[in-house]
Subunit: 464 residues, 2 copies
């Protein structure tokens, strides 16, 4: 039965990651997790699929429209998670009695948002969260940002900055302007678009003229109408969000502690118009920006959510968290590094996992050559043994070396019965980093001394 | 507005992982990935959500009924992936020209199956795959099993065995018995239930009597009716699948190479009735079993799928892969280790990430104590600084030490103005692993010598 030929494309807004890029992504995640562990955070994991009612309770109307929702085979209404924070709140409510407080967790997982795909904006992406539940400001905030700074430093990412704000100060501004508490969250959501859409559009939305276009149901339109503020107030609001003296006052102690933790003061930029789009934030909010890649948006963000857990439980421990958008960060690094070969993070990562390739020509020698590969692996050197495709072409040396070169493996071991039959047995060791096929870069080494020789040649230049 | 109180439960068949267990799971994944890199495998990632047509093309009727499918907001038919293999095939077809062959990849990701939840069987679980595409038997099979053996050894898992078979031998048996090729896959699928359901049930299904109960649509019923074999043949099939001389012959060379790679021969058990439930396997198949936890099912499995990529492309590179069911393995380890405190994997993992806790009583000393924490972290020692909840109770020493004890942190640093004001400044270092509150386990150490003293006390007994 000849099968129907399928188109091998992923869905729009979804991505495949092939080795060099996947390895870089993995390295970013490993580095962050390592640093978070160094600060005493412990890992946690929650399902990707949650009951719909859990997902719809905290993000707000804009976000809710982006949730992938459906009915499962048992007629439960379910959805793919929009972030990792709401699940954390659910777990704290369910299992808080099993946890020590303050509870410090990190979590890595995919999230899904039905958004318009563009550069740096995907419908499925990997998030890396760290959260501290049950501790008052602002030491937890300092710790989260210090850990991020340290992880960025380990990855060689120095060209970044942190936008910070506190929603409480903005709420004060709203109150002064006579905007009621009940409208504050909707106003935050509109102001959140300032960075992307500019003042004019946000002004129009604040005054109600653009609301209909964004919201398709009559109910939502009516709800948003309530947000309308008189034009003069909207103008005043925009002006004052960009110049908050209160915020500057709050910042001084916070900045001092951040500086002590190694985050240079010039990395931190206060911006009273920053709100973050989600409803659950109650105080401190922040966004991480990569210099030269601002156009892809923030590569991370977070804030304090002191009421979130109260959705489930009578008492609500305070919480503060930070989320790295790993795939956005990857896209931003690519953009920031384009035009130069020396994107700091890319160096040392553009190789396959193996450092040594062991060629195989003859079935009879497989056992001996496998023993050579084993010797290297036992010494911690990632090694690839040629897995001989069955035909004659698959056994040619030139085909094998072309493979190793293409896979980016720096060294090759080549040995036939001549070398293996010597006493003591030897192999040829070839450096593939030189021009492919260049002469004079091949030496004969006794198997006994191979590990040492390989380590010499790699001399710390290759990742292990 | 008082929010409606929600029930904080995950969906049925879905799991939350809290720290000690989440850390063990993370350790399992890290260990496997490390070993696969040592063998030269490179990472890859694909979306969790795939077009429905991709998902429905290769698993077979039983599996297809377990796929979470729905229509997204753009009216695309989509589904959550059932495994990581079909996505690999899609990527090879789409991006094969960018990859070196043989292509060796590992991938870690969640998969979803709408199955009946029971011990070790979840609706969402983490899979860890390694695959080799474009290499002939049986060196790739040897390499995959050798890597798994090495990862298990590093994790302290020695009580396991590998069931292996080759579908080709079973196909020969079917042919001898006059069962047509077109019915072979359906017969494999029925035989796959031998382990779980026993001979009697499988016999009944082979003879057609149980088919109706399992398949609800008339179309599927008719299709399965074709599989019916005469009762005598079914009996003969069951007998012969359990005693295949051909399989034993094939095994000798394979076993020799496995033994050379360090996998003891007694770990490998040939079983001609093993088929694996999925349609895409064409030759070698295997399952990993944990001794004493056979009731949860296999903790991993895999096989050769030489036609899978042909669904998308005119030429189909051969493929062989292996998948570890991380959450099943975790459940099996728990079961196998129950009754004894010395489950080998659990040792050394039942702690929070931090090795040292730094207490804080007074706002004025935060900077100095944070510097102590930084000194420890800079030396690579995971350290937690008390993030002082704002009330008086949050600052009591007994509350802080209770927290550290509960979080499983072995050492605590305690210092107030007395200690910090000395010249040179000192801290009290307390060993919390002794009976809580026991006297005599607290020593005064100058800050200069703290890292060394902490390393002495931990002396390799704690994970970092």
């Amino acid at each position: 039965m000849a099968p129907e030929r399928l188109k091998p494309r992923p869905l729009k807004g979804f991505q495949d990651f092939l080795p060099p890029e996947a390895r870089l992504r993995e390295r970013i995640v490993e580095t962050f997790c390592e640093v978070f562990r160094l600060f005493g955070f412990a890992p946690m994991d929650t399902p990707a699929l949650e009951p719909e009612e859990i997902l719809l309770s905290d993000y707000g109307v804009d976000a809710n429209k982006q949730i992938y929702r459906f009915t499962d085979l048992e007629k439960n209404r379910v959805g793919l998670r929009f972030d990792l924070t709401v699940s954390l709140a659910r777990v704290i409510a369910a299992s808080g009695h099993l946890l020590p407080f303050p509870f410090k967790r990190y979590q890595v997982g995919k999230v899904w948002r039905f958004d318009k795909p563009k550069r740096g904006r995907f419908r499925e992406f990997l998030q890396l969260d760290a959260d501290i539940v049950g501790a008052q400001p602002y030491e937890p905030e300092v710790e989260l940002l210090a850990a991020v700074h340290q992880a960025f430093a380990r990855l060689g990412i120095t060209g970044y900055y942190i936008r910070i704000n506190d929603r409480k100060y903005l709420a004060d501004v709203l109150q002064e302007l006579g905007i009621e508490d009940s409208r504050a969250k909707d106003t935050f959501r509109v102001l959140d678009k300032l960075e992307h859409q500019g003042e004019e559009k946000v002004f129009k939305e604040l005054t109600g003229q653009l609301l209909l276009q964004d919201f398709d149901s009559a109910l939502e339109y009516e709800r948003m109408q309530e947000v309308k503020v008189p034009p003069d107030t909207a103008r005043e609001l925009l002006r004052r969000t960009q110049d908050s003296g209160r915020l500057r006052g709050y910042l001084s102690g916070f900045l001092q502690r951040l500086t002590e933790e190694g985050v240079p003061p010039e990395k931190v930029r206060a911006d009273a118009s920053l709100t973050r789009g989600l409803d659950y934030y109650t105080g401190f909010v922040c966004e991480l920006m990569l210099e030269g890649a601002e156009s892809v948006g923030s590569v991370g963000g977070g804030g304090r959510y002191d009421d979130l857990i109260g959705r489930y439980a009578p008492t609500s421990p305070t919480g503060v968290g930070l989320s790295i958008g790993v795939d956005r960060l990857l896209a931003a690094l690519k953009l920031a590094g384009s035009g130069s070969d020396s994107s700091p993070v890319a160096v040392g990562i553009q190789r396959s996992s193996a450092a040594v390739f062991v060629a195989v020509f003859d079935d009879c020698e497989v056992s001996q050559l496998a023993a050579v590969a084993r010797r290297l692996r036992n010494a911690g050197i990632p090694t690839e043994l040629w897995l001989k495709p069955g035909n004659r072409e698959g056994r040619s040396l030139s085909r094998q070396l072309k493979y190793a070169d293409r896979a980016g493996i720096p060294l090759a071991v080549i040995a036939g019965s001549d070398e293996l039959g010597k006493s003591p047995p030897t192999v040829q060791l070839k450096d593939l980093r030189t021009e492919f096929g260049e002469a004079g870069k091949q030496i004969e080494v006794p198997i006994e001394g191979l590990v040492e020789k390989v380590k010499d040649l790699l001399s710390g230049a290759t990742e292990s």
